[in-house]
């Protein structure tokens, strides 16, 4: 990246990082071997690095606060930023595979914290392949919300196994979600929307939210409006397809 002196990658007016300096390819191969550090187990995740205000020292014994929301494939972090002020006491993390994009989100959060003292302390981002390493980051039943907003559609049938929502990956998401936890998905690709809905519909550990519950949930409103992808779809007056499901307890009859 060309460094033309000073803080040129940051906007002069807002102090936020400028996206044009974090140009990344639109896709990343989730099947390839990863070469970034992965926590050995959820207890190895250093909360003091992610949330210094909540965890002043790396000694975790004094607090039992855990990450509750995960934005899988958080992209440029629009949803996280909106959720941060909506749920200021809830720890949340974005997971992004593309190196430069996760760097951007990191800088964005850091500058927001500087510009708004006391705020945005509950959000962070990690570069990881969530299709492979979800169990390394979260314990059983740790999360209360998982977001999958505008994931890669992977149209070709031979690439369907690269989709982030798939019948077998839902097993892992169900493992890290608490009973009653909610999984949010949205896409502007009808084919993918049908796919995600049918995966969730056919999974024994998920049930759909009712219309009433959807209306009452403040996070649902953010799905189409908060992210950069969502805003792009709205600008082009495109259609979106969402599926919001709740993790339910396993019953013996189902299995």
């Amino acid at each position: 990246m060309p460094e033309t002196g000073g803080n040129s990658t940051f906007s002069k007016s807002t102090g936020l990082p400028r996206k044009r300096f974090y140009r990344a390819r639109a896709h990343s191969n989730p099947l390839s071997d990863s070469h970034f550090p992965v926590p050995l187990s959820p207890s190895h995740v250093d909360y003091s690095l992610h949330y210094p205000q909540f965890f002043p020292s790396s000694d975790k014994a004094d607090s039992c606060k855990k990450i509750k929301f995960a934005d899988i494939g958080c992209g440029f972090g629009g949803l996280l930023i909106s959720l941060s002020t909506l749920f200021p006491e809830t720890l949340m993390i974005g997971m992004e595979l593309r190196d430069k994009v996760s760097e951007y989100v990191k800088e964005r959060i850091l500058s927001l914290r500087v510009a708004n003292p006391g705020q945005y302390q509950n959000v962070s981002v990690v570069r990881t392949n969530s299709m492979k390493y979800i169990p390394n980051h979260f314990e059983k039943a740790q999360l209360s919300k998982m977001f999958f907003l505008f994931p890669d559609p992977h149209f070709k049938e031979k690439n369907h196994r690269r989709r982030v929502i798939s019948p077998f990956l839902l097993d892992e998401y169900a493992f890290v979600l608490e009973v009653g936890g909610i999984i949010y998905t949205i896409t502007d690709v009808e084919e993918l929307g049908d796919w995600m809905k049918s995966c969730l519909e056919n999974h024994p550990l998920f049930e759909p939210l009712t219309e009433k519950e959807l209306e009452a949930d403040p996070a649902v409103k953010l799905l189409s409006s908060a992210t950069e992808e969502g805003q792009k779809v709205a600008r082009n007056e495109g259609q979106t397809f969402q599926a919001v499901y709740r993790r339910i307890a396993a019953s013996d009859q189902i299995s």
Binding site: D33, L40, K132, P135, F168, P204, A250, S255
Partner: protein, 423 residues
């Protein structure tokens, strides 16, 4: 550098060899060795080689390297599977092939449910498939059961109470999944993940429950440790740095990484003793397992004097307190030994007794057994030295993520479209 990269690519081709495998029937009447595509079985009751029967195909029954064999359901079943993408289920009673199951991908591990109703196998893409043995057709269609996302599954195991199916992979993890009453709809409820290994997990073994309501799980790994787990919570109970404890490795220096990967585990005496095979150790390590204190400690290192024998697989004969070991490789570049194997037995694997490596003249079954399982009673010791190296290289290639130096990585990206545009 071009040649360097090309050389490392071509090395991949030559090292795709499979280690020899061994399995002993629970009542001790049969012992089976698989090496390359060959399946060799010896019957102690008739003291002769068994001729396997499969009406559907001519010999060899497997067309490529066999990667997994095991007896199951208290000895009522035997399965073999491997790189030829076929799984064969045999009846040890008459050694007839009950059914042949076709897989889409190469098979890396197999397991048989304790009630004998289901056979599970893992393919090279991380999918575990289940075959219902109740159906009365010869050709059985496997149904997907669960999946590790794009990882090679190294070991599959049912818990002794049949409540869980465990799968270990090369991404350091062990998944414990509830085995449902009707598993043909998939096994979706994960009980726990056992996380803590820092390299690929190579093998799993259960310490059978005694007074303990939950059985303990043992795992061996490329990180040269054997670990003890509580499978209901996934908690790591104990780590035994077996290579250091057995004096193979200085505790501070790692002479050569991955030199001392644990390749196989075998519990004896209801789990009081655990035999461990380690790459580059000519012999085995016996660990004693203290179930109530939940610890492991090295009881003894049994070395094999006078020959190059690094066991590739272990099996226990509970009725005679013998530990059966095999070493060998499917093929050896530069040598004219297809399906090279060598079998040895350690007797007196007991807390009180002194373990003894039996000489070829003392081995149960005698010369006839050696001729059956090794193909020949005589052997070329030097070949086994090369074989051990070949097996090690193949395992590293398969299970360890390749680390490309920075320049190498840049070289590999040179054909990428966005790079080309810049020029």
């Amino acid at each position: 550098m071009d040649e360097e990269v090309a050389a490392s690519e071509s090395r991949k081709e030559t090292t795709e060899v499979a280690p020899a495998l061994i399995a002993v029937h629970p009542d001790g009447h049969h012992v089976a060795v698989a090496v390359g595509p060959d399946l060799r079985v010896f019957n102690f009751l008739s003291n002769s080689a068994v001729s396997l029967l499969d009406e559907s195909v001519n010999q060899p029954f497997h067309k490529d390297n066999i990667r997994a064999i095991r007896f199951g359901a208290k000895g009522k079943l035997f399965v073999s599977a491997g790189d030829d993408k076929t799984l064969k289920i045999w009846s040890p009673e008459n050694w007839k092939c009950i059914s042949t199951v076709l897989s889409e991908k190469r098979v890396t591990a197999v397991a048989i449910s304790n009630d004998g109703l289901y056979v599970c196998f893992a393919d090279k893409f991380g999918l575990v498939w289940i075959v219902d043995l109740n159906k009365n057709s010869h050709d059985k269609k496997p149904i997907p059961l669960l999946s590790h996302y794009c990882s090679i599954i190294t070991s599959l195991e049912f818990s002794p109470d049949n409540r869980y199916i465990l799968s270990a992979d090369r991404d350091f993890k062990i998944r414990v999944t509830n085995f449902p009453k009707n598993p043909l709809n998939g096994a979706h409820e994960i009980q726990s993940f056992c996380l803590g290994h820092t390299e690929f997990v190579s093998c799993l073994a259960f310490v059978p429950a005694q007074e303990n309501p939950h059985s303990l799980l043992l795992s061996g790994s490329g990180d040269s440790t054997v670990r003890l787990w509580d499978i209901t919570s996934g908690a790591l109970l104990y780590t035994c740095e077996v290579a250091i404890k057995a004096g193979l490795l200085e505790s501070n220096g790692n002479a050569e990484e991955h030199d001392h990967a644990v390749t196989d585990l075998c519990t004896t005496l209801d789990g009081l003793l655990v035999a461990v095979a380690i790459q580059s150790l000519q012999g085995i390590v016996l660990l004693s397992c203290n179930v109530s204190a939940q610890t492991l400690s090295v009881a003894k290192v049994v070395s094999i004097a006078g020959e190059n024998f690094v066991p590739t697989c272990l099996a226990n004969n509970p009725s005679t307190r013998e530990l059966w070991m095999v070493t060998g490789v499917s093929s050896l570049p530069g040598y004219d030994y297809p399906s090279l194997s060598r079998v040895l037995v350690i007797s007196g694997v007991d807390v009180e007794q002194e373990p003894v490596v039996l000489g070829d003249d003392k081995i149960p079954g005698g010369i006839k057994l050696l001729e059956t399982l090794q193909g020949t009673a005589s052997f070329d010791d030097n070949a086994f030295l090369v074989a051990a190296e070949a097996v090690k290289a193949a395992m590293c290639n398969l299970l360890i993520k390749k680390q490309y130096p920075f320049e190498n990585r840049e070289y590999r990206k040179k054909t990428r479209n966005d790079r080309k545009l810049k020029e």
